[in-house]
């Protein structure tokens, strides 16, 4: 400290003018630096763990080598952006690439990504484990011996492509187009695979969505014509989550950071989750409902808003299709809004707090408190549900439909702090070629029983094949593992083993999985840093695109090397999918006679194959507004900009699109229906954004729907048949479900009334925050954190059943049982047990390779109707190129419970309803942890029982088609293909009366 008294005397030394001069100097310095496009104030992001290298230094970033400590050894990197390929969020990553060796040293967040804003969950940085995984598949493999025998030979990509292409070509030429199906796991690039299949003329897209989010989507789609929510969490006043969305799910990292911001500003968080999840622990109000009762709670809140008249009356008047509802269901009433208000109050009067409390087990006073909170939100109510209760329950689509009812009542649709339809917060740039949709209908994916299904009935495929409904010439799984992920995995094994049902099964996968073991070809595709994809997801009120790219390739190109094939820089012979699909399509139609090759031919080099550079260059130059200009400011071309920064924000603050007046140039020879739907002869203006939405049909004169009349003005409206929010779904009413045409409560298959006396409900739908289905099992850091899935059980139930923590229990489903460890916790309500689906990986004993840290070795038993997996060896330390595999300290990798779940297709949405009615008891002395046993005959019976609940198009279609044409469908066949086969339509006379 100073003892110099002269220094203490005048405390202030600078005159105001001196200080102003200093400020002026700082300002001048800042102007100069920022004018160069560089960062002057790096702020808090440059301190501590949130540090981001300034983008102007990405070409030559220097860090000290931590492994050289205490010596100060500098390491140089070139930083290349990409996006994560674990969950669907597509968060930005920044790969630290050694410019000499092209090896990636680590992944951190990309601060230039508008969605994730430099932040990542554990799975992002763990991409480095997946890249370096010693067990990963580096070369194409071909089966030797019977399927599933575990014997493989290395094969060239060329040989594999030739064989597969020849099979597909034969199927196309011989008009067996329904024999080619590609089953998609995680989306890579919006629409890419669909366009490949469309170019082949096959209706072969099979998404995983009906085991995932179809119910959540359906509830949204019937309301808005768009199939998922996009909440503006950051600006919300009240946030309602029916999920564990803060910790897992789509898109939890971008959403959680915005929910956290909102809470810092005073927003209240309501979480409906039967489990005390990490999300629930953050809630201001945690509601733990009986599984399946969530819609009852939503409706009680809605009723409170209605009865107390605390809803946005003007919004409801202007934007609900209440006139259509009155006309269809209450023709006796006056067609006035006042009349509708009376009906609305009558319709929901029964959904009292006491009713909801009786259904849910949540105290009525708590529901009332939440209802008041929702009422206080005004137009700043952000809601979100995706899988969770929607995915668990029969009728789960009414969970999202009734949750959206709260937004529709409060007018918080596409408002600041409200909830948007996702299509308005998403930008899918149009590529140069968009092939026409196929002229055929694939009954294996879109069976006649489910005319209103949101997505393909993909999880029923093996049962359909076993029923003799069809045969597959070529079946692809693309980064997907149906044996493990889907219910009833033994049905998949059964079908895949039979070459008479599946001619050739090709697994495109970066890593081994339970389905790939039964493949004919296993083809290694890349992880996040080894492939191209263009992504855009709804994460706030804005639109962005992000570019996944092979980072070693980009680093090589920065140093002047020319790379034309991602295999040149990827590990082994790992290939990116885009190049593979281009190559395969070219081989299917080498001379162009099938009309396929045209979509894969270079425009720059006619007669040669399209390169990925050319494919993306065209998109970035022609279909992304603002990108060419932003790139020019950086002295780059648009492709160079995306390679450099990895992401671009197309728009922000889009607001309520439905309110936009339709411009006069779009109104030509207009026709307006009595209910106000406006049709025009004016052609649709070109739109570079091809994000999918509902597509209402033209009027009989061929005019396209362009808007809806609201208070005398033509506004853009919603992509629904009415153009308004469809409180009343004429589609549901006309296609056999009039009783569910308005938001209502459907009793779940696990409703207490449906359970046997000793039955409990098993919740199996929840994720672990640090894993993502089968995708992340080859990430050692994540495996060390999360590698098992005990059964949550309440202490009261545990005591009743004589179960202590850590005991082995048998959980018996309708078709079999699994053996797991018990975790006794008050974090689950009595009468309910829970087990995450993320664990229980296995490999057959004959299979030489797998995922060493997470797959137990098992024996697959099959005897008559009996199916089982028996443990041969647990995981343990082993020698590999990675010394960490010798340090594996865990043996318990959980249980594969999904094998014991029968298929439960929701008769409306087609979604598999995951919750299970189970009996839980102590395991038998001979039971071993992780074992599974199934009676396959019972699984087939359960399939037939649920199938019988459907109302097939042949008996409910009002117009002889298979499906309402306006509903979204990844591939939308021709009008002719939509028609039901001759003689299979009962006629329009049996259309049920609307209402109900």
């Amino acid at each position: 400290m100073s003892t110099d008294r002269s220094a203490t005397a005048p405390t202030t030394t600078a005159s105001p003018s001196n200080l102003d001069d200093l400020g002026r100097r700082v300002l001048a310095a800042r102007q100069e630096v920022e004018a160069r496009g560089e960062t002057f104030y790096s702020g808090p992001s440059s301190a501590g763990l949130a540090a981001f290298p300034p983008k102007e230094r990405w070409d030559n970033w220097v860090e000290l080598d931590s492994k050289a400590w205490p010596k100060r050894v500098e390491r140089r990197y070139t930083l290349v952006p990409t996006t994560c390929f674990n969950c669907e969020s597509a968060c930005g990553l920044l790969a630290y690439v050694d410019p000499e060796t092209l090896e990636v040293a680590k992944f951190e967040g990309n601060p230039e990504h508008p969605g994730s804003r430099g932040k990542n969950c554990a799975k992002g940085p763990a991409t480095i484990n997946q890249v370096r995984d010693p067990d990963r598949i580096l070369y194409p493999l071909r089966r030797v011996g019977p399927r599933g025998s575990g014997r493989w030979e290395r094969v060239s990509w060329e040989d594999a492509a030739s064989d597969i292409a020849a099979r597909i070509r034969r199927a196309i030429v011989e008009d067996r187009k329904d024999e080619v199906i590609c089953h998609i796991g995680r989306p890579g690039e919006d629409g890419f695979t669909e366009r490949v299949l469309a170019s082949w003329g096959v209706d072969g897209h099979n998404s995983h969505t009906n085991v995932c989010s179809s119910n959540g989507r359906a509830g949204w789609h019937y309301w808005t014509g768009i199939d998922r929510p996009s909440a503006d969490f950051a600006n919300a006043k009240v946030i309602v989550l029916i999920s564990s969305h803060l910790e897992t799910g789509h898109y939890f990292n971008p959403h959680a950071q915005r929910i956290t911001e909102a809470r810092a500003k005073g927003a209240k968080l309501v979480v409906m989750d039967t489990r005390l999840s990490n999300t629930a622990t953050h809630a201001d109000h945690w509601l733990s409902p009986w599984p399946g009762s969530e819609a009852a709670i939503n409706l009680a809140i809605a009723n409170h808003l209605i009865q107390t008249k605390r809803y946005n009356v003007d919004f409801v008047r202007r934007w609900w299709n209440w006139e259509e509802y009155l006309e269809a269901c209450h023709p006796e009433r006056a067609r006035t809004f006042e009349s509708f208000q009376e009906v609305l109050a009558e319709l929901y009067a029964g959904y009292t707090f006491d009713f909801a409390a009786a259904e849910s087990g949540v105290d009525a006073s708590v529901i009332a408190e939440v209802a008041d909170l929702v009422a206080s939100a005004g137009t700043r109510l952000a809601t979100h549900t995706w899988r969770s209760a929607c995915a668990g329950n029969l009728g789960g689509w009414q969970v999202s439909r009734t949750l959206l009812l709260l937004n529709a009542l409060t007018g918080s649709i596409a408002t600041e702090g409200g909830t948007f339809p996702n299509a308005w917060n998403k930008f899918v740039p149009r590529p140069r070629h968009v092939p026409p949709h196929p002229g055929v209908w694939n009954e294996l994916s879109w069976p006649v029983e489910y005319p209103l299904a949101m997505n393909e009935l993909s999880f029923l495929l093996p049962h359909f094949l076993l029923d003799g409904r069809g045969h597959l010439e070529v079946y692809f799984t693309r980064v997907y593992n149906p044996v493990w992920t889907n219910p009833d995995g033994f049905a998949w094994i059964e079908a895949l083993r039979r070459e008479d049902l599946v001619g050739c099964y090709v697994a495109l996968t970066p890593t081994w999985n339970e389905t790939a073991f039964f493949a004919d070809y296993v083809l290694p595709v890349g992880h996040a840093s080894e492939r191209h994809d263009l992504a855009s997801y709804e994460q706030y009120d804005g639109q962005w695109i992000a570019f996944r790219q092979p980072v070693a390739r980009v680093a090589a190109e920065r140093s002047g090397r020319r790379v034309t094939d991602s295999r040149e820089t990827n590990p082994g012979e790992v290939w990116e999918e885009n190049e593979w699909w281009i190559e395969l399509s070219w081989r299917i139609d080498p001379d162009g006679s099938l009309g396929i090759r045209q979509y894969y031919e270079s425009e720059e080099r006619p007669g040669e194959k399209l390169s990925v550079d050319e494919y993306y260059r065209w998109i970035f130059e022609h279909s992304v507004p603002g990108l060419p200009e932003a790139a020019a400011k950086e002295g780059l071309d648009p492709l160079g900009y995306m390679r450099r920064f990895g992401a671009f924000e197309v728009a922000r603050g889009l607001g309520a699109r439905y309110e936009e007046p339709v411009p006069p140039e779009e109104l030509d020879d207009v026709a307006v229906t009595p209910l106000g739907r406006v049709y025009t002869k004016a052609p649709k203006p070109p739109n570079p954004n091809i994000v999918p939405t509902g597509d209402p049909e033209p009027d009989p004169e061929g005019r396209r729907p362009v808007g809806v009349m609201v208070d005398g003005q033509v506004r853009r409206g919603f992509p629904t048949p009415s153009g308004k929010l469809e409180f009343y779904s004429s589609t549901l009413a006309a296609w056999g479900w009039p009783e569910a045409a308005v938001p209502t409560y459907l009793a779940s298959h696990v409703h207490p009334d449906a359970l046997g006396e000793d039955e409990m409900v098993l919740i199996s739908t929840f994720r672990l925050p640090t894993q993502i289905h089968t995708r992340s099992a080859n990430a050692k850091w994540l495996d060390e954190i999360s590698h098992t899935n005990p059964v949550w059980i309440h202490p009261d139930d545990a005591q009743r059943l004589g179960i202590a923590g850590g005991d082995l229990v048998r959980v018996e489903t309708e078709i079999g049982y699994f053996v797991a460890k018990a975790w006794v916790t008050e974090g689950i309500r009595p009468g309910v047990v829970a087990c995450s689906h993320h664990m229980g990986r296995w490999k057959p004993e004959a299979q030489p390779s797998g995922v060493g840290a997470m797959m137990r070795t098992v024996r697959l038993e099959s005897d008559g109707s009996h199916r089982a997996i028996r443990t041969v060896a647990e995981v343990g330390p082993y020698d590999s190129a990675d010394p960490d595999t010798s340090r594996i300290w865990w043996t318990d990798v959980g249980v594969h419970q999904n094998l014991t779940f029968a298929v439960h297709p929701d008769p409306v949405s087609g979604m598999h309803c995951w919750h299970q009615a189970v009996r839980v008891r102590k395991a038998e002395p001979t039971d071993r942890h992780g074992e599974v046993s199934v009676d396959f005959e019972r699984s087939r019976l359960a399939y037939r029982r649920w199938l019988a609940m459907a109302r097939p198009a042949g008996s409910v279609s009002p117009d002889g088609t298979r499906r309402p044409r306006w509903l979204m469908r990844p591939l939308k066949p021709s009008h002719e293909a939509f028609r039901l086969p001759e003689g299979s339509w009962a006629g329009a006379s049996r259309v049920p009366a609307p209402g109900g």
């Binding site: 405390t11 202030t12 200093l22 100097r25 300002l27 800042r30």
Partner: protein, 313 residues
Amino acid sequence: VPAGCRRRVAEDPTLDGSHLGELLRGLAEVAEVPSPSPVLLDALGLDPPAPGAHASALLLGYLPPAASPSLDAEGRLGGPVAAEVAGFWRAIGVPVPSEPDGLAPLLRLAADLSDAIGQESGARRAALARVQATLLWDHLASWALPWAAGLEELGIAPYDRFARLLLDALVAELVEQPPPPGGVPGPFRHAPPDVADLEGTELLRVLVVPVRSGLHLGRAHLARIGAELGVGINPSGRAEAVVDIVRADPETTLERLADLADERRERLAGLPASAGPVRTFWTERLETTSSKLRALARAARSVELGGEDSNPQ
């Protein structure tokens, strides 16, 4: 509101008027970033910090640059003081930063407000000025002036000069402000008691609580006293370190601490009238502390002398 008014200088190079806001913004960067841009340091006339200087000056050797260690009744980082500052951010409708009471975010907010006030007029300008006055009196100058004075004493470049600039800039901002309501900044209205009624070990432990003792006492201060006495500093905490060094040589140490309090009081007494409400609070606390320490030192000496007198030889 302030963020929306923030000047985009790169787009508007012709701005004139006061540049105090930019100076505050630059100081925020130096407070927060271990290695600020050399261009910024050059503009501020500061030398580049030696490796580790940021940590030893602002984090480990002294009190962290935040309101709570200065104003909390127990000298804790975070806690109710940080929560109160977070409430202020919320009240003005600005997203609460991860460290709401941190010096850097508060300086940036003051800079944004300063810019915005310069750009607005009428009722909006008056409203922004009221927010700025509250920010400065209640959440920034109230603690940052004595904090900066203590930092400057440590003489760790460039943070000694940074502290002087900070002090000067805040004083210059206060000139523009109306006095706080009742003439007393918010944190002082319900401040915990000074050390007048404390004795013995309890007094020594409270010396490291600035709002009570008036003294911003970092580990670096204690280390220097320890070095004079030839004793090391207890690594477990500053309060324990004070007790230890006093035990090692009660009279010298207590006198030295009293000197420190007097020097700090003199330094703060030199603050201009515009900082009067802050000056009064801290100088009074320091005076009380100095008196108590000198009384204790006398007592220690008499005990020592008494011991000699009792010697029969």
